[in-house]
Symmetry: D2
Amino acid sequence: MTTIEKRDRRYVEALCRRYRRWGAWGADDERGALNFITPEVLVRTGRIVSCALPFDEQSPHSGRFGGRHNPMHIMVQDGGDIAFGAQDHLNELRFTEDAVAMPLHCGTHWNALAHIFHQRRMYGGHGVEYVTSKGAARNGIEKVADGIAGRGVLLDMPGYFGVEWMQPGQAITSEDLAGAAREQAVEVGSGDIVLIRTGHIAKARAEGTWGSYEAGDAPGLGVDSVHWICENEVAAVCADTGEAEVRPNDTDEVFQPLQLILLVNAGIQLGGIFDLENLARVCAEESRYEFLFVAPPSPLIGAVASPAHPLAFF
Amino acid sequence: MTTIEKRDRRYVEALCRRYRRWGAWGADDERGALNFITPEVLVRTGRIVSCALPFDEQSPHSGRFGGRHNPMHIMVQDGGDIAFGAQDHLNELRFTEDAVAMPLHCGTHWNALAHIFHQRRMYGGHGVEYVTSKGAARNGIEKVADGIAGRGVLLDMPGYFGVEWMQPGQAITSEDLAGAAREQAVEVGSGDIVLIRTGHIAKARAEGTWGSYEAGDAPGLGVDSVHWICENEVAAVCADTGEAEVRPNDTDEVFQPLQLILLVNAGIQLGGIFDLENLARVCAEESRYEFLFVAPPSPLIGAVASPAHPLAFF
Amino acid sequence: MTTIEKRDRRYVEALCRRYRRWGAWGADDERGALNFITPEVLVRTGRIVSCALPFDEQSPHSGRFGGRHNPMHIMVQDGGDIAFGAQDHLNELRFTEDAVAMPLHCGTHWNALAHIFHQRRMYGGHGVEYVTSKGAARNGIEKVADGIAGRGVLLDMPGYFGVEWMQPGQAITSEDLAGAAREQAVEVGSGDIVLIRTGHIAKARAEGTWGSYEAGDAPGLGVDSVHWICENEVAAVCADTGEAEVRPNDTDEVFQPLQLILLVNAGIQLGGIFDLENLARVCAEESRYEFLFVAPPSPLIGAVASPAHPLAFF
Amino acid sequence: MTTIEKRDRRYVEALCRRYRRWGAWGADDERGALNFITPEVLVRTGRIVSCALPFDEQSPHSGRFGGRHNPMHIMVQDGGDIAFGAQDHLNELRFTEDAVAMPLHCGTHWNALAHIFHQRRMYGGHGVEYVTSKGAARNGIEKVADGIAGRGVLLDMPGYFGVEWMQPGQAITSEDLAGAAREQAVEVGSGDIVLIRTGHIAKARAEGTWGSYEAGDAPGLGVDSVHWICENEVAAVCADTGEAEVRPNDTDEVFQPLQLILLVNAGIQLGGIFDLENLARVCAEESRYEFLFVAPPSPLIGAVASPAHPLAFF
């Protein structure tokens, strides 16, 4: 540490002017120095694709299903406060500040292994007494928060079926999954994270409304898809529907059977509301359905779900 | 899509038993199928290090500074509800559900370019009227939500200075940054994300209390660090202190001068409360201070900050 | 209901000027027409009637209008936690604990005098700079929190009109108000709190749905009702609709003209979503339309509205 | 203050049994001692005194105790938004809008009968399974929301003891209560709401800090006060401390014994954080310690507590 003298305001202002980059990447630029990033050969092309739905009041939830409402964004200090002098006690700098309140399933999310119980047991056989008002003492999302990152494989089911999007109620089988992988010339193996595109978000966009997206009928994985998923030792499965499995379920006797088989028993993370439209387009352009997939949950201690901002690296 | 018949409960239960992996990775396992992941040569060693502080009520905020309190985690359905029969109308499956309310700066976070104003202008010259109670209409965090991913470089300043941690009030200069990079045998260049370890979190842990971590004195970047940062075309800077710059600031005339120079003018993302302790240990073990760094903000529309769960890939 | 013509902006502005009371009780006054109240001896039988709608997720708001959602009730400790031993460190006693998050207009509520601006002025002539992200520095609800208690008078308009409930869009005039009071044999005078029943809640109940109750068409006070209200020196007006005035408004040139005339200029508290069904029944049984009316807002510092639990004492 | 010995668990349990009123007003009763209230003609002068502490971020809670933080007030639309044109689509009128998030015990509040359990039973003998994440299905605050209004009697204990305020740890006995009533020349009888002033808020104000007000030592009702309270058929008891009873409790074997005896068994509403300073002054001025007391909880369905804005009418 060099001994340094106290600087004055003019010095700071000179530095502000010297390093001002407003307009350096066009007048409309809002990404600043991130424009410098040109991802390297660590990953092959450096192309990055986001698989998250924006978190805002236009999200698909209405609060009708289990109290899942859209994220509420709250400004604690805003430009009006600055204009009216609320921060005039500060030298030069003014700031804005905000907060959010959101159900943890309300957008692109992973379920924790503590999210689902079968005969009063969650993954590992732990009982209901491990999830109290304080959160999950076992299988909380923080236990896997750094773990959902690895090789990702997109299976573009509408592409395989030759349709724009699958229809609500259409169930995907093990044979379908194997067929799609084959046609896409991609192998799926131990530790892969499999992303299932059904086109359900594309359909909602085409129709201009979320409609019953949050809890209604949807295409998705059927009971018979679990063989392919488990035998291939898939680490995690996510989809562009609410909870990845077909609705109505293809059994009347068990509600959301895949949550029981895959999450509670096989310990497979399940993710919902992933926006896979851009990803499918890029995979097609790159003729490549595998990528580095980084989608860490937040380390929310004891949470039974977490929003995520998943990125695919090509 | 193969035509498939409706399955019954016994079929689902058989699948549950068949694919049950409880105990497959030890009786205490809470990561499930993620154990299958063995990151490949996409990244060199596959070793992944989290740089996030856990989000919980033990976080460093008390609400005294600008209303920044710790995250509040809320259970909407828990094990008690299941035990008392609240979900007995569902076939077989039972679920837990939760929500969170949190200030967006309260843990490991990135500031949006809309977070700071200088002479009523934010990055790009936009005025205060662009941040209202509805959020930021310019430079909101969603504009860079998929952008904070690329080559990361850790500069371990206590390692360079030969101390356990830097002292509150100690300022880091451009010369210090260049010296640390040189000693660590790492080059810093255009587009890099630079992580500055001061040891401030290690100090809090050693003392067993956050004390004034949230808003008090801290080591960090001094005004004279901006030359090295800007001339090297660094894309983003984060640190293990509240807001990366030294407190008290090394000027009395400007509050938080680096926010003005780096964020408002040079458009450089600034991140705070990154936990860099494990990262420093791993960098030393690997003798390698560069890595793929993936730390996307959440796509919270109009937000002026976002929590993040940053991962370093070796 | 007299047939009435649509009024224009100049008409509303003339009424604003005519009934403006800024300064009538001193330049610093923030209590408005509540200054008229001089509580009397009114309680005779001890019969108490609640005029609040229950606060729960069955309330009329959906979040579509201005972010007004229903109250969210959150359990912090519940019976499940007790059953699972979370409080076993306590001797003998076990407790439950909860919290609420609610928009302040979402149920039975009073508007503060800081709720409405006309030509950038609120009651007393204070500008928009007095309401920042920190709340209202002038005319916040706490300024009248102990003031909304005194003689209450119910005007049962459907009773007067001989209908079950008024129709959406039907406007009440000064003549109607005078007529109803006359028929009910009740005098209205200085300091009275006037409760207007339109039957709009009865209609929603009969139809089994809130429908567009929160922000759609509604019966209510028309522009021409203000003469009777102001000339009688009424202290506060509330109704069983969202905001007491007829929707669509009976002028196309001014949105919610009564808020401008009565609240901004005459300083009269306006309350909405009061459930007056039981009250109307009891008034009829008692043949008495006056009562001690106690409906204090909460002393939420700087708030621009407050929920209330109004009680009428006979 | 009589010197009193520490009581044991059996003593408390005997009192619980002795004053148990489960079923006294029918097996389904959820209103407890409020059944004693028969409101009278009490209002004489019209003088009104508020007994609420302001609800704001200066309230006594820090979040350290059971997650009870101060109320958070959130502006949804404010003057800055109006100034920046966010509502320019509206004709003439501009509005502000807000919301609040608050623990229900965080300010002046009543406990519901569902707030406390003893041997897994609450008032009326209902089990823990009646309070789930959805709230209290029995004894929720809405069951008494219109009931806490009637004759109020202030017992000014520091006045009786001839001190400015009682000291933390000082316990009030039945004899003290009887003595204070006698000296104040007021009778206490069936259905009365008794307000106990200890001066604990006056002490905090004199010291300029809430200190450990929220959960630390406090003066208050001792175990031996319950005889006077129950035998007089008091309907509700509130005080100017957190939860009305002395801290540390005058038994080591039972935490908060009065909550068990009075609330769980005798069905007596208990209120805390009532600001009784003005009330004591007015009672002295009027030489009258009885008044009409109106302090309705909010009708928050299933809540186990509620903020209230209590008013005393002279």
